[in-house]
């Protein structure tokens, strides 16, 4: 069953009386969130009362700083403290101070917490030593008096030239060549994407607080408390109870606070352990951009065979990702990128070869979409080029190839349910009037090309100063962890009826703006038949909540939400059985008073009928897929080649919408990040250093750069999750960039195959040899 929700009118009917979160009942009666609770932590955020890490006060805390490498690759010979300076009032930490293993817990464990003497510096801005002192002025002054003695080594910057492979996969057919014989058309293409910075507005921040009996607590801005917890146990040699991780209010993550907070927590804790007092490790923007992870750059090559009617016959796809200096999460980023590389399209013969290699740039890591935006940009742009070659509409070529029920993916996964590719496509085409706009832009292009005053000029064509174009893209996004990831981590969530009669949700899923704290009470209260505001969220503190896994992979609503629903159902059954079958809502207060607390823990169990072989990459790569279509309309300035993205229609199938406003917010925010990726966001490198490592030089879209957005949410539920949710966070990130690139082509007639589509690249494409001019 598929249902859809359309944007609601600005003025909605009366709110339900059950919503007691309303702080200003007078105004709220006409709000758009009618019938749904408002963001739970919203009032604190709106009044400035919410406490982010840098807002927390720990009396006597010192200020920490990181001494970083200034070379891309070198041997570290010594760390020298200026002998003319008095070092007695501060502490300095080097690798020699690390009590446990000098490794950041991750997949391959190749990254040191601090480069040891004699060890190899592998990237610019790599942490080498730490300093803490009683005030920022002292720390700033002494930081420059610590000298790194090094011996330069030759760096590698080209991922294709690197011989150190972090991960490699081969998916699908071993032989695709036969399918190329006899094809009506064979199209080749190469697509490139660069680094992208997550650019959460709150920089990374962590405060370590030493306690009694060897305890070390960290309070910080983070997505995955138990990743940090594991890292602290390993590197600091702490027990599970000695290490404690508390999430402060978190100002955005987008993957950027998935793995990197572990190393910051370790740095803060090492300093705190040495000076015996709390240490604040608060990054400024420059340090955050210079040192922390980015989206993996990628080179994707396509060779595609098709029939004249657009039917795909074979796809041979090669993916190379740049992992940067350390492995971090690269194998799983590459895996997701490779598994999505063929797009949501039926094709009898597909081979996907992917590898990620090591270079001497700061490590790349998690960023919304996790490899899929890179490969789906390539796939969608390639398919749009194929449509152009065949004289087909971009919508039509997708209609002919998009997955339907029963189709088989390159891993051999049979799509048995919840396939909404065609539906999101048709909705986007219809809502945006795609074909009508396309016809109009074609007419305008014809008029411009016929009216040029200087025939050889790409731009001097009549009076038009801008060209409008419209573009379309379609994407899929695997819901939750890849392959058997969920089975391996075996997440646990809990729902508790406390002795005081409160219903409490205990999860390690973090709120970072996406709405975790609001949707869990909705899901749990719905099962229990009580108002959402009667359900409390336990503080995200490893001393309190179980390990429900990391807040990543769009898995929170789907997987952790599913666990909470199951736990709530069991809680309800237990309480109702104890109370002669009377409804939970009528008896739970009395039950708590009579029987004390009831706590239900729910552990993840494999979804029925879903299995994946990690060794052969065959089987169900994901339990289900989300589907998204995007239509973008752009204006390209014909003098400067600047691109303005004017409107976007985004259609996203998320399985089940828990809260329409928050869900739309995810689509809109992800769409704008994709627009930035397509148009302006770019890291420039020199000798392995990010040149634009400031907010004055790394640009993200402002309100003036953002398109007007229309979001249509589709619900094509996944039967394995009790509520049907498939997640929403990453889906919109996959589809926005190729839609914008297609729109630029529609406007000015050139394909930009390397992101972002800067004016320089567009001008070069327009003036390059053999390029068509609109």
């Amino acid at each position: 069953m598929t249902t859809r929700t359309m944007p609601r009118p600005a003025v909605a009917p009366e709110r339900s009386a059950a919503d007691a979160l309303v702080l200003n009942p007078g105004a709220a009666t006409r709000g758009r969130a009618a019938g749904f609770p408002r963001r739970r932590e919203g009032p604190a955020k709106l009044t400035g009362a919410a406490k982010y890490t840098d807002d927390l006060v720990f009396p006597g805390a010192w200020y920490g700083a990181t001494i970083r490498s200034t070379e891309a690759r070198a041997r570290l010979l010594a760390v020298e403290l200026d002998p003319d300076v008095d070092w007695s009032g501060v502490v300095v930490v080097t690798a020699a101070d690390i009590p446990g293993e000098n490794l950041v817990a991750s997949i391959k464990e190749d990254q040191p917490v601090l480069v040891p003497i004699g060890g190899e510096i592998r990237h610019h801005s790599e942490p080498v030593a730490l300093l803490a002192g009683p005030n920022q002025a002292t720390v700033r002054r002494l930081k420059s008096r610590i000298k790194l003695v090094t011996e330069a080594l030759p760096p590698v910057f080209d991922p294709e030239a690197s011989d150190h492979v972090f991960a490699a996969y081969e998916i699908g057919s071993t032989d695709v060549e036969a399918a190329f014989d006899g094809a009506d058309v064979v199209l080749e293409g190469e697509y490139r994407v660069g680094h992208q910075e997550q650019l959460y507005i709150e920089n990374n921040a962590m405060i370590a607080v030493p306690g009694e009996d060897g305890e070390m607590a960290v309070h910080g801005s983070l997505q995955c408390p138990y990743y940090v917890h594991r890292a602290m146990k390993k590197t600091l040699g702490l027990t599970a109870t000695q290490a404690r991780v508390v999430q402060a209010e978190t100002g955005g993550g987008f993957g950027g606070k998935e793995e990197y907070p572990s190393i910051i927590a370790l740095h803060a804790a090492l300093l705190a352990g040495k000076c015996g007092r709390p240490v604040r490790m608060i990054y400024d923007r420059h340090e955050d951009i210079a040192a922390t992870t980015k989206r993996h750059p990628a080179i994707v090559r396509h060779r595609t065979a098709a029939r004249a009617d657009g039917t795909l016959l074979a796809m041979d796809i090669d993916v190379v990702m740049d992992g940067g200096a350390y492995c971090t999460l690269t194998p799983v980023v590459l895996s997701r990128g490779a598994l999505h590389a063929g797009g949501p399209y039926r094709c009898p013969s597909v081979r996907i070869r992917a590898r990620a290699t090591r270079t001497n740039t700061p490590p790349n890591g998690a960023f919304r979409g996790f490899g899929a935006p890179q490969t789906e940009f390539a796939m969608e742009t390639h398919l749009n080029r194929l449509a152009e070659r065949l004289g087909l509409s971009p919508a039509e070529i997708r209609r002919r190839n998009a997955y339907v029920l029963g189709d088989v993916t390159p891993t051999g996964q049979v799509l048995r349910e919840s396939v909404a590719a065609t539906e999101v496509l048709e909705l986007a085409v219809e809502a945006s009037e795609f074909e009508r706009l396309r016809a109009a832009t074609a007419r305008a292009a014809a008029e411009r090309s016929g009216s040029g005053t200087v025939p050889t000029s790409a731009f001097r064509s009549g009076a038009a100063r801008t060209a409008t174009g419209v573009g379309l893209a379609l994407a899929w996004h695997g819901a939750g962890f890849t392959g058997s990831g969920e089975v391996h981590i075996g997440s646990v969530a809990a729902v508790e009826l406390t002795a005081e009669g409160l219903v409490r949700v205990l999860v390690a899923a973090t709120e970072m703006g996406q709405g975790t704290s609001t949707i869990f009470p909705i899901m749990v209260s719905g099962e229990l038949g009580i108002p959402a505001d009667a359900v409390e969220m336990a503080a995200v503190d490893t001393a309190i909540v179980p390990d429900s896994g990391p807040t990543v992979a769009s898995r929170t609503a789907m997987v952790v939400g599913g666990l909470c629903i199951e736990a709530a159902r069991r809680l309800r059954a237990e309480v109702e059985i104890r109370n002669a079958g009377r409804p939970f809502r009528e008896v739970y207060l009395a039950d708590a008073a009579a029987h004390g607390a009831t706590r239900i823990e729910q552990q993840f169990e494999p979804y029925p009928g879903i299995s994946f072989d990690d060794a052969t990459y065959r089987g169900d790569a994901y339990p289900a897929f989300g589907w998204a279509a995007c239509v973008a309309r752009v204006e390209v300035d014909l003098d400067t080649a600047e691109v303005a993205v004017r409107d976007v229609v985004a259609v996203d199938d998320v399985g089940k919408v828990i809260h329409p406003i928050l869900c739309e917010g995810q689509v809109e925010g992800g769409t704008l990040q994709a627009v930035g990726y397509a148009t302006i966001e770019e890291i420039k490198l020199e000798d392995g250093r990010y040149l634009n490592d400031r907010l004055a030089t790394y640009l993200i879209p402002t309100a003036l750069d953002a398109p007007a957005m229309t979001t249509i949410l589709v619900e094509s539920p996944f039967s394995g999750a009790p509520h049907g949710a498939k997640g929403v966070g990453e889906l919109p990130m996959d589809v926005g960039a190729p839609a914008v690139i297609a729109a630029i082509h529609d406007a000015v007639g050139v394909w930009i195959t390397e992101l972002p589509a800067t004016p320089e690249r567009i001008l070069a494409a327009l003036h390059g040899p053999g390029k068509a001019v609109a």
Binding site: N24, A27, A33, G42, D54, G669, G670, L695
Partner: protein, 159 residues
Amino acid sequence: MSRVRFLVNGAPAELDVPGMRRLLDVLREDLGLTGTKEGCGEGECGACSVLLDGQVVDSCLVPMSQVDGRIVRTVEGLALAARERGMLDTLQDAFLTFGAAQCGICTPGMLMAARAYLDAGGGPGSDTIREAIAGNLCRCTGYQKIVEAIAAVAAGDLA
């Protein structure tokens, strides 16, 4: 050190501070008003926006020597009257209702920029609203719901 006197959220403040100390640091560290956030320290993101005599400014770029004798308003002062009744003011309420705040770190600055726009008689048109908040970066919302919330207040829909 110089003596600086100013009004912050209606209350008089008098401090001995270095003239070049940033208003942002005085608000956060000396006065405990941590609602105002630092996002970049160089006037690009607008997370530290406050009102200085009713004009929106980046408090990371304002030295205390320029604050003497002036009126500072921060997010904590936005709902002063309303908060005494345990409520949000109309603008904050609109942000909550429309879903204009996600992670919340840009929100205090965004609210101040919106407040300045509305106080100057700004209307519900999307173009002028976008212009007014163009100095305030948000990475979560795509700005759509922020513009809608401000427009609703400007149109009097929520008054």
